[in-house]
């Protein structure tokens, strides 16, 4: 799997390259600025891009803007955005086109190599990887005034949280140490209680949950 990586700090870039190479990714390019990233994404046609939000020369949200631009010219181009901070505002913008293949994680998540690599693979396959912090913020805001959400059992809330992060049933089952069938039952309960349309497609399911959590704001 070919990856284009954009990160301006040498230490982090180097670390990410080694981490991804150790997990059998091929680094098509590891760049350090916005213009270089735009060029690499256009010319190298990678399977997935791992991008830092803040990049030179402007040191604003240059990386994010480059990613949006690349996704406009190549819809569905898988992009995993990394940042020192996560904002619902950015998460919403990334999810706005509804085509999936996006991830948005805190840089700290790299510490857990397995989970991080899993997130990269998921995004590359057209799935979603949302930072637990984004989901927690969404949930805590919705919990205050959302009746359907209040009807969920604590276990179902746990499952909902992991599902919104973009995890598959198998992964959720693994994390909660239960069978996949139990998770499937929880999910169908959740969808019934929140009055969402059930879908077999994992990715569509995640997007529906995220849209539900983010609605009305």
């Amino acid at each position: 799997m070919r990856v284009v990586l954009a990160e301006d700090l040498f230490l982090l870039r180097d670390g990410l390259v080694r981490l991804l190479e150790a997990h059998d990714f091929e680094i098509a390019a590891a760049v350090e600025s916005g213009p270089e990233l735009t060029r690499a994404l256009a010319e190298l046609e990678p399977d997935v891009a791992v991008v830092d939000v803040r990049l030179p020369p402007t040191h604003t949200d240059e990386g994010l803007q480059c990613a949006f631009q690349a996704r406009r010219s190549r819809p569905g181009l898988p992009v995993l955005v990394l940042s020192q901070h996560v904002e619902q505002l950015y998460a919403r913008e990334l999810l706005a086109d509804g085509s999936g293949g996006v991830g948005y994680l805190l840089k700290d998540r790299v510490f857990d190599a397995e989970q991080f690599v899993d997130a990269v693979r998921r995004v590359a396959a057209g799935g979603t990887a949302m930072d637990p912090q984004v989901i927690q913020q969404l949930l805590s805001r919705r919990a205050a005034d959302d009746r359907p959400l209040a009807r969920l059992t604590p276990r179902e809330l746990e499952v909902l949280e992991l599902m919104a992060q973009g995890r598959s049933n198998a992964a959720i089952a693994g994390q909660l140490v239960v069978t996949e069938r139990a998770i499937a039952k929880h999910t169908s309960n959740i969808f019934a209680k929140l009055d969402l349309e059930v879908s077999d497609d994992d990715n569509r399911r995640v997007l529906a949950v995220l849209a539900y959590l983010d609605q009305g704001r």
């Binding site: 604003t60 940042s83 901070h85 700290d108 805001r141």
Partner: protein, 421 residues
């Protein structure tokens, strides 16, 4: 050559005189009708305040008068280098009554009106004089040269105190003209005199300038104090937080090194602990950074930073942004933290279930309003968050107004003079 060295300054002086006459002409042309019109309108408008109409018209009229005065300040500085200080009080946005009231309480406004009376009399004379000093001698010379014939056709013509009836008395007028011509070089000084006169009436008094200095000193002290307190807080947070965690992590790693062979299971447990420490340290640093300068503010500017802030609030908040560019970083930060504090206040104390934030820029001012549908009763009292906001904005000559009747709604308006780029 001798003649050349003399003609240089002479022609320069002649040019000065012509320029001064031109300026005097412009001033005379503008000052009399402008001052009469402005003074009359202001008088009528203020007289109509008790009936109500004046409340609407007064801010407008006084605004025009101020623009007229500011134009005079500008040309005074440009033409003669006479600096006329101004010290108007900021006019709050809001109901016409509060605006009119604030304007009528401002001594600078009354000084404008006093100046209009001086400008239509003494000001007019000092503006006309340089024109006369230039034109009148020329007229006398023309009279001597033959202009007396048509002018004295109907029973004589007066040039100064000379009664011109024939060629010889016309020569008398010419002689007087030459005498007056020696006064002509005074024309530029007369223009300067006009502006000096203007300054003496229109310039802010020592007392007001002293008041301005007092306000600046106070806001500067507040700014220095609060930034020092902020630095102390950051130092303490780093010292007790991230720094301590890194120390603990380093110790854990050292222990792991020795345990690696002896007790691998224990080493693994400590490794997990060290990793958790690093995650916690990062989380703490992130919060600290957010308090120093929120990352969204750096990345996206004020509008999106406030939007991102609104998304974190437990109360549904609508944000409306109309900004054509970005303000300077310190102003953006001040505005952001002010909005943040006001929003926190609203969430904590108002009991509102909806909040609206509006950000826009007009007339060289950034204007932010935060409205909530809560129970009202907010005041800028000692110890309240709003007093802190007011101090923070004061550094940038910003103002804060609170309208919060019992029963709500509460509307907090903030204004900071600034330019967008």
């Amino acid at each position: 050559m001798n003649t050349n060295t003399k003609s240089g300054p002479l022609s320069a002086r002649a040019r000065d005189v012509v320029v001064a006459a031109g300026r005097g002409f412009v001033l005379a042309l503008v000052s009399l009708p402008g001052a009469v019109l402005g003074f009359t309108l202001a008088l009528v408008s203020i007289a109509l305040v008790p009936v109500g109409i004046g409340l609407v018209t007064t801010p407008w009229v006084l605004g025009r008068v101020r623009a007229f005065a500011d134009w005079r300040r500008r040309v005074a500085a440009e033409w003669c280098g006479v600096v006329i200080p101004s010290a108007y009080q900021p006019v709050p946005e809001g109901r016409p009554w509060t605006r009119t009231y604030t304007l009528l309480r401002d001594p600078a406004v009354w000084r404008d009106l006093r100046w209009l009376q001086v400008d239509m009399t003494a000001g007019y004379v000092t503006a006309v004089l340089p024109v006369a000093l230039f034109l009148y001698p020329l007229e006398g010379i023309a009279v001597a040269a033959g202009l007396w014939r048509p002018l004295s056709q109907w029973g004589g013509y007066w040039y100064g105190f000379v009664h011109v009836t024939d060629q010889s008395s016309a020569f008398g007028a010419g002689a007087l003209a030459l005498l007056l011509l020696t006064l002509t070089p005074l024309a530029p000084r007369m223009v300067t005199a006009h502006f000096r006169l203007t300054r003496s009436v229109l310039g802010a008094s020592q007392r007001e300038l002293a008041e301005r200095v007092r306000v600046l000193t106070e806001t500067r002290r507040d700014a220095v104090d609060s930034s020092a307190a902020e630095l102390r807080r950051i130092e303490r947070d780093l010292h007790d937080g991230a720094q301590a965690r890194l120390v603990a992590m380093g110790m854990d790693l050292g222990t792991i090194e020795t345990l690696l062979d002896k007790d691998p299971a224990k080493a693994k447990q400590l490794l997990a602990q060290a990793r958790q420490s690093s995650v916690d340290a990062l989380a703490e640093l992130r919060e600290l950074v957010r308090g120093i300068h929120p990352p969204v503010l750096a990345e996206r500017g004020l509008g999106d930073a406030v939007r991102a802030l609104a998304l974190r609030l437990p109360v549904p908040t609508e944000v409306n942004v109309e900004l054509g560019g970005r303000a300077e970083a310190p102003v953006e930060a001040a505005a952001y933290f002010a909005v943040s504090e006001v929003l926190t206040n609203a969430v904590k104390h108002s009991g509102a279930d909806r909040i609206w934030v509006d950000l826009h820029h007009e007339d060289e001012r950034l204007r932010v309003t935060v409205t909530d549908n809560g129970k009202g009763g907010a005041v800028i009292g000692a110890g309240s968050g709003l007093a802190g906001v007011e101090r923070r904005l004061g550094t940038f000559d910003g103002v804060l107004a609170v309208s919060s009747p019992a029963g709500g709604p509460t509307m907090v308006t903030m204004e900071i003079p600034c330019a967008l780029s």
